[in-house]
């Protein structure tokens, strides 16, 4: 990012290569259509470009980028006047590892996605970032604008709820 702010246009492509798949995976879990997720990734990077003058040298890019992405996601969901829904159709998320393991695991993934969709919004944001995008909790706290302890509580409750949902469905 420092290289891009410094005027190296090729650095933007590298940033895109590194972070776009992760962002798209997060968006796909939260939006029904793959095109919406892709569009949101593009918007996130356009905003990253517009905001590049705000980037501080000592800042970390991942929480910065994910905050933009999560804000756009929330706005997009608010605009569409609907609750964020789990991707019940398989055009949503295709996790090759899960699909390869067979139908049983695909069903488990669906169950988990439904459980994720049923969580309160603040828990869902934390779980999506931590569980799916692999963002450490201190960075998640930066992204959602809450204290680390508050984020830990949300994550703990969210995972507990998802495990309960999984247990109720009788998954492995």
């Amino acid at each position: 990012m420092r290289a891009y702010v410094g005027g190296d246009p090729a650095a933007f492509g590298e940033l895109f290569e590194r972070y776009a798949p992760l962002l798209e995976a997060v968006f796909r879990r939260r939006l029904r259509r793959a095109e919406e997720a892709r569009d949101l990734v593009q918007q996130t990077f356009l905003h990253l470009h517009r905001s590049r003058a705000d980037f501080r040298e000592d800042a970390r890019l991942r929480p910065w980028l994910f905050t933009i992405g999560m804000n756009l996601l929330r706005e997009s969901q608010r605009r569409s006047f609907r609750r964020p829904e789990a991707t019940l159709e398989l055009d949503g998320v295709r996790d090759p590892a899960v699909e390869a393991a067979g139908q049983q695991r695909v069903d488990a993934a669906r169950t988990l996605e439904v459980a994720l969709g049923a969580l309160p919004a603040d828990q869902r944001d934390v779980i999506t970032l931590h569980w799916l995008a692999g963002v450490p909790l201190p960075e998640v706290a930066e992204i959602v604008g809450a204290s680390l302890s508050a984020v830990k509580v949300r994550a703990h409750r969210g995972y507990a709820a998802m495990r309960r949902a999984l247990g109720e469905k009788g998954d492995p």
Partner: protein, 253 residues
């Protein structure tokens, strides 16, 4: 080991620890959540085109650092108020203390709303409930200001000027100043203009600046006139702005 600890260890790259590895392998929740490293990148061309089309004055304005954008917005507000003050009709100040306090409150309120409106997207947003409460808090004084509307249209306070005409003139001037502020905020906007929160804060900030400008300009001090003519510019603009935002959203959808 619980899921939270296991996933936090995974996120920190400590997947080789036996307890972590055992949990990640056994727990269906953690297993499904593990991201696929071979997910392909989405096409870059569309982003490249959008970035390439970022040219012109507006792109230059919104590409400025947030502090510079805020400084510019404050500069425009100061210029509008200075222009109003220079061409002010008002000579006397019957209630200087109250007017000073009102002016101070409006200035602080407008400053906070300008900051809120220009908040960059990399800053976490307030929860929707908080935003709704603030929006209701801003709409309530505007709605109360409209209560004495019939009275304000009947009574006169300025010799030679019809009361309804004076009230209407002030409302129009307030909306004009407010509109200029909102338009400039729109030019500085990095793309969040379609959000309802951006519309609310822009209209309210503009309305407060409009009320400040009228306070410098208009000699009428009757409560009805002040409420309807001066106080409701933000609400009027907010309603128009809201209608435009909704129409734009429908068109985009």
């Amino acid at each position: 080991m619980d899921c939270l600890s296991a996933l936090e260890a995974r996120n920190a790259g400590r997947t080789t620890e036996p307890a972590v590895a055992a949990h990640l392998a056994a727990c269906p929740l953690c297993r499904v959540g593990s991201r696929s490293p071979d997910l392909p990148a989405p096409p870059f061309e569309a982003v490249e085109q959008s970035v390439a089309s970022e040219r012109g004055i507006r792109a230059g304005l919104r590409g400025l650092p947030t502090r510079a954008r805020l400084g510019l917005a404050l500069g425009v507000v100061a210029a509008l108020l200075l222009a109003t003050f220079t061409f002010a009709r008002r000579a006397e100040r019957p209630l200087p203390g109250v007017q000073l306090l009102g002016g101070l409150l409006l200035t602080v309120g407008a400053g906070v709303l300008l900051r809120e409106n220009l908040l960059p997207l990399q800053a976490p947003r307030r929860p929707g409930r908080q935003q709704l409460l603030v929006a209701l808090g801003l709409a309530l004084p505007g709605a109360i200001a409209l209560l004495p509307l019939p009275e304000a249209l009947r009574q006169g306070a300025l010799p030679g000027v019809a009361p309804s005409a004076a009230t209407r003139a002030c409302l129009i001037m307030g909306c004009l100043v407010a509109g200029l502020v909102a338009l400039f905020l729109r030019a500085l906007d990095r793309g969040a203009h379609r959000s309802a929160w951006a519309a609310v804060t822009a209209a309210a900030a503009g309305g407060m600046v409009g009320a400040l400008a009228l306070d410098l300009h208009c000699p009428i001090t009757t409560v009805d006139h002040l409420l309807v003519g001066h106080g409701s510019a933000g609400l009027a603009l907010g309603l128009v702005y809201g209608a435009v935002v909704v129409a734009l959203r429908r068109r985009a959808a």
